[in-house]
Amino acid sequence: MSAHVATVSVGRAETLTSARGPRPPWQHRLLPTAVLVLGAIYCLIPVTWVVVAATKTPAELFSTFTFAPGTRGGLFSNVNDLSTYRSGEYWQWAVNSAIYAGLGSLLSVAVSAAAGFALAKYRFPGRNAIFTLLLGAVLLPQVALAIPQYFMLSKLGLANTYWSVLLPSILSPYGIYLCRIYAAAAVPDELVEAARIDGASEFRIFRSVALPTMVPGLVTALLLQFVAIWNNFLLPYIMLADDRKFPLTVGLYTMLNQGADTPALYTLVITGAMLAVIPLIALFFFLQRYWTVDLVSGTVKT
């Protein structure tokens, strides 16, 4: 999966489903609709599978047809088994994921907003160098960074704590890029200058002028980072030894890889995976209008 840098365009507020031009007769609508729906179905196949599989009992999982739902009340018993696994550890993992993603994304947006604002609204020596350097951080793969980060945090006594996962998650080059572009486009220079004339401190300007106008971009940056942290596996896997601090990704992975003498808990993992994906789907549904991510600002303006 790829993650991107994005900006939010400052065009008119278009609704996302308003028609674009005249509607052709239904015969001409079949093909484009079919292609879209095919794409949608293809994307839904594994999701449907996981929902159906979660309704099956362990015995049914490997003996019934894939897409036939379970008939022995599997869903209820699976969720029950999941909740009693190691005394309800799954729900602890869910809380952990919420903490890492929620707190991490909030801190990340705060840092990104400040950095993005600075890069957008000030001209200072080293500006481009700093920006390029920050973006360059995406080039080094996390697999390589993980161990040195672990050693470093161990020396600080922070390994295996919540901070060991939060701290590396705060810095988001994508978030900074996005905030920069958005600040450049959305924060009016005139207001900034006017505030300066009135003797406001730079920080006051940031807080009262810039942030309010940057809100849509900030929300997008928040959502992107939330999903990135929620779905992150490698970082918490390396940093954490206490399974009570695991997020859902690592927890489900350990349930899966149990080694030779204990079988993989497939039904639990499947049910757990299904439940883990629900919050993000809900997030998508309810915050649809913030999922507008545009890469280019300024090319087309009203």
Partner: protein, 320 residues
């Protein structure tokens, strides 16, 4: 805060008289101060580990004295790099990585573009359903996605093979040698298309209708519109998504790693990043692993800068 109405005047700091002037220093130091948190984190979470990684890549741990021996760490300078570069498996992995990227990025962006254009076209229906559905895979973490697709791939539990069976066709082993690439690529494409689609779609949405009206009056069909007007307008967005997709795809790791226990065709060094993981985590040799990671990072850097330079003009309309 009162807003003055003198926005048409260009105010410079020097043009003030009679007002207690805020020192230039405070405005000049402000940007740096705003950047302090990001800079601190950058140094702590990126620069220091990179430095440590570089140091690690030039060291090794050997045993001396017979038997169990005593372990000592020492500098071996470029030996680890030599070991990585002279390993044929590494180059096989590199080749696979390049092929994999050449498969995944164009298909993923091509589909994303197609879906974005369709979502923007008046002809298509079921837009909301499609948009949410195609975006959904973004919600699934890579490790879980690979597991789900693993179930759908394994011949004996796969519904696709059931379907083939009903149709009287022979069973397909998607995880076999010939199709393994496709199997892994599919997971990446499935996972990434939706996000790119949303990026491209938003770019499209920002274009005002008036631009198209003129073309339509001239008799342009929707397809021609898409081809002649929309796609060129999307070029900057396409370039940026391509580059970022390329960077992520070059670092592919969790999909083949998760599929490995299910398939005999994926070795522990099938992709370069898997080899780095294997050296560092399975063989307990973080030294060679760091060397491999540095080589890969440099390669990615060269490729990204090269692509960006080639396409720089088209990516950024104006830089403020």
């Amino acid at each position: 805060m009162a807003l003055t109405t003198s926005s048409t005047q260009t105010m410079t700091v020097n043009g003030w008289a009679g007002r207690p002037r805020r020192s230039r220093r405070s405005t000049a130091s402000a940007p740096y101060l705003f950047l302090v948190p990001a800079a601190l984190l950058f140094i702590a979470m990126f620069v220091v580990p990179v430095g440590y990684s570089l140091v690690l890549s030039m060291r090794a741990s050997t045993v001396s004295g017979g038997g169990i021996g005593v372990r000592t760490e020492r500098f071996v300078w470029l030996d680890n790099y030599r070991a990585v570069l002279s390993d044929p498996e590494f180059f096989h992995g590199l080749l696979r990585m390049v092929i994999y990227t050449l498969i995944v990025v164009p298909i993923m962006l091509g589909l994303a573009l197609l879906f974005a254009l369709l979502l923007d076209a008046p002809a298509a229906a079921a837009k909301r359903f499609s948009r949410i559905s195609i975006f959904l895979p973004y919600a699934v973490p890579g490790v879980i996605a690979s597991l789900l697709w693993g179930f759908l791939y394994l011949p004996d539990v796969s519904p696709f093979n059931d379907l083939l069976g009903w149709l009287g066709l022979p069973e397909v082993d998607v995880l076999g040698r010939r199709l393994a690439f496709g199997a892994v690529s599919n997971i990446a494409i499935w996972g990434g298309t939706g996000f790119n689609m949303v990026v491209l779609f938003t770019s499209l949405r920002a274009v005002p209708d008036e631009l198209y009206d003129a073309a339509r009056i001239d008799g342009c069909s929707e397809v021609q519109l898409a081809w002649r007007i929309k796609i060129p307008l999307l070029t900057p967005a396409l370039v940026m998504t391509a580059i970022f997709s390329m960077i992520t795809t070059l670092q592919v790791f969790s999909e083949p790693q998760t599929l490995r226990p299910l398939a005999k065709t994926i070795s522990s060094s099938w992709m370069p990043m898997m080899k780095v993981y294997r050296d560092g985590f399975i063989n307990g040799n973080p030294y060679v692993a760091s060397a491999g990671a540095v080589i890969l990072a440099l390669g990615t850097l060269v490729l990204s800068l090269g692509s960006l330079r080639l396409l720089q003009r088209r990516a950024f309309a104006e830089d403020r």
